[in-house]
Symmetry: C2
Subunit: 131 residues, 2 copies
DNA sequence: TATCTGTTATAGTTAGAATATAACAGATAG
DNA sequence: CTATCTGTTATATTCTAACTATAACAGATA
């Protein structure tokens, strides 16, 4: 796997892991139908507890990113994650809100902020091409 | 004050308070030089502990949003917060990164994401006009 | 039968968040 | 001078989240 956990980070391990798997999907490193390691193997792989991995899998399942076949294993949702609905967008706005407020305070205008967003988008679409 | 804390939220009180003050600055409700309540009065105002308020003031001071005159009180930084530097932008990118990854997974394209950002920006610039 | 899967249960440690109470030093108003 | 305000520091406690550890269970598979 491409997982890289920073145990010193203030960001909880399970959040780091969740983000990296979601980013793996966004970049096309993980495609619908692809298998994910078992909770035990992934846990020993990155040197953490299996419960932490299980927690992440539950969150990803809840988010529609993965499907869990009880005794088969974990698979990236063959249908892909559900499309962004109104609830998702509201949460997204709530997350972006404080970032934009701080950026405005620090003298960034809309254009500068959007440029940064575009850069991040390019990072994903470019790496999607590579594969 | 315009502060509104949700004690039931999973988001820590001190984060909520910090965000709301920063948003107050971004919207022009708080202008450079404006005084902020003392840690004790604001704490009793919103029904929380003075140490929680003090923690927020320390964070805001560290971020350059406010200036603390030991026995006078707390004031919005007369020079305004420092401009966004490279470090700030890197942190901003790190914060936006997982949001964009999740949005891509959920079928949002760059245009849809930028539109939401623009909406949030309008919320600030519009309210800035009101004042 | 042995081994793998996710799942559940229980218990422990550690750290962060929030509160409570108290005290200190400098400034200010009476 | 005294009383009161300011931010600041210290100490202690409570509660929860995050993480780990060990064990067991049920279903599937080789």
């Amino acid at each position: 796997m491409f997982i890289n956990i920073n145990l010193e980070s203030a960001e909880p391990i399970y959040i780091q892991l969740e983000h990296q798997i979601i980013e793996g999907i966004a970049k096309g490193k993980l495609s619908p139908g692809d298998p994910l390691p078992s909770v035990r193997s992934l846990a020993s792989d990155i040197g953490i507890n299996l419960h932490t991995v299980n927690k992440v899998y539950q969150l990803l399942k809840q988010g529609g990113y993965i499907v869990i076949h009880r005794q088969k294993g974990v698979v990236i949702n063959p249908d892909g994650p559900p499309k962004a609905d109104e609830e998702y967008k509201q949460n997204l706005i709530a997350s972006i809100h404080p970032l934009i407020a701080a950026s405005i305070c620090r003298g960034m205008d809309e254009e500068a902020f959007l440029r940064i967003c575009k850069e991040v988008f390019n990072e994903f679409t470019e790496e999607g091409e590579k594969k």
